[in-house]
């Protein structure tokens, strides 16, 4: 599985080969993951704006929600990031998403005034407004990506071991875990529950995670051809599978 841990291992291996000899810390890793995920999301969204096609890279952000409307106005979902084209369905009809200028033009026009079967919608601040009014609307959007996080413990050899999201781990002799919220140090016998484990994976599918690796390496000044990074990732994966 090509997860944050794999990326971390590869980066450390490659950067150690670098003349600087710096070791990449887990905290830097989290920061890099967050930054790089944002960068990649913005680049992917730019493509989406041009083609209006949800690519696999954005697929995991694809979301929808039924919004309750009062007098035609309702609150956008908390995790709203960007709207999808044709993403407002009112009373089973797809609404035209219009600018404020068009809203006014249509609202005060007899020839252009929307009807139940061709409603219009606009986004005003954190609200959505729909005309003709209805009790609710289906809102299709891209949700804000959750920031990735690299949570870990030290094993008996003081090596950093990544905690896969949703898993728990019982610390054995010589192992240490530092709680990322309050800094409490946990040792042998302590159970890191899945709830305590704060790791969050990149929202991309595994193939796209190689891209993230490549981007992080670029930031670290390691020039590596994309193909090599991919190959390295695959090798690591194969090695893991044969364990």
């Amino acid at each position: 599985m090509f997860n944050n841990g794999t990326i971390y291992d590869i980066i450390n291996t490659l950067t150690r080969k670098d003349s600087s000899g710096d070791v990449f810390s887990p905290e830097e890793m989290t920061n890099m993951l967050v930054l790089t995920q944002h960068e990649k999301d913005n680049a992917d969204f730019k493509q989406f704006e041009e083609h209006q096609i949800i690519t696999d890279a954005l697929r995991s952000l694809d979301s929808s929600s039924t919004i309750t409307l009062t007098a035609g106005v309702g609150s956008l979902p908390i995790d709203y990031w960007h709207i999808k084209s044709g993403g407002v369905i009112v009373n089973s009809y797809s609404a035209d998403l219009v600018t404020d200028k068009e809203w006014r033009e249509r609202f005060y026009s007899h020839a252009l005034l929307p009807k139940t079967w061709c409603p219009m919608a606009r986004i005003v601040g954190t609200n959505i407004q729909v005309y003709p009014t209805h009790t609710s609307c289906l809102f299709e959007y891209l949700k804000k990506p959750t920031d990735p996080f690299f949570d870990y413990y030290y094993n008996a050899d003081d090596n950093i071991v990544y905690l896969v999201p949703g898993t728990s781990h019982v610390l054995t002799a010589g192992e240490t875990y530092i709680d990322k919220d309050d800094g409490t140090v946990r040792s042998s016998g302590y159970i890191i529950t899945s709830g305590e484990n704060k790791s969050v994976e990149l929202h991309f599918y595994e193939n796209d995670r190689v891209d993230v690796l490549y981007r992080i390496l670029q930031k670290l000044g390691v020039t590596l051809q994309h193909e090599i990074a991919v190959q390295y990732g695959i090798q690591g994966e194969t090695k893991e599978q044969t364990k």
Binding site: E49, I83, G86, D96, L97, V98, R106, L113, P114, K115
Partner: protein
């Protein structure tokens, strides 16, 4: 084709140059023009909508029966009126002028015919309308405006002088400047 399917077809054919309500009102305009020709050609029954149980009211002041039209009709769009159960009475439409002249005649037609005329959105019946028929209500075949059809209703598409309804609307809209329809999320 449903009315919505027609609107969407025209929308696609015109490469989404107009908001749909604008296409709808243009369709209404062309429909009325084609209906006018169809009425002159006496070829309208296929395009009418049937309304049953239309209430007949007696105006206490004029002592005359009338019905409010249940839909918005095109000009001369009241194509046929008939009793709900009894077909003994023939309903015959005449111009309002003739209707009024007829009422002034010494000799009055007392056959089983109910003459009526249409004034905007109301139908006035002559004295041969009986209280029995009036109480039952009447049925009407009306040539309505196109937007009076439900959006999901199948529309009988007229073809006049070898020009189909859809082509006539497209021809009409071709010469109209594009109305801005900018989806803020579809930057191209």
């Amino acid at each position: 084709m449903t009315r919505q399917a027609i609107i969407e077809t025209i929308d696609f054919r015109l490469q989404r140059r107009f908001p749909k309500p604008f296409i709808e009102s243009s369709m209404d305009f062309i429909w009325e023009q084609l209906c006018d020709i169809l009425i002159k050609q006496n070829d309208v029954f296929y395009y009418t909508q049937k309304y049953e149980d239309v209430t007949v009211t007696l105006d206490a002041v004029t002592d005359r029966y009338y019905s409010d039209l249940p839909a918005t009709v095109v000009r001369d769009g009241v194509v046929r009126v008939y009793g709900k159960t009894s077909r003994d009475l023939d309903f015959i439409q005449i111009p309002e002028r003739d209707f009024r002249l007829m009422g002034l005649q010494e000799v009055y037609d007392i056959s089983q015919k109910v003459y009526f005329y249409v004034n905007y959105n109301r139908v006035f019946f002559d004295d041969n309308m009986t209280s029995i028929v009036a109480n039952e209500g009447v049925s009407m075949d009306l040539l309505t405006t196109l937007s009076d059809f439900l959006i999901s209703a199948d529309i009988p598409l007229p073809k006049v002088n070898n020009v189909s309804f859809i082509d006539a609307v497209i021809d009409y809209l071709q010469g109209t400047p594009t109305i801005e329809l900018k989806d803020v999320n579809t930057k191209k």
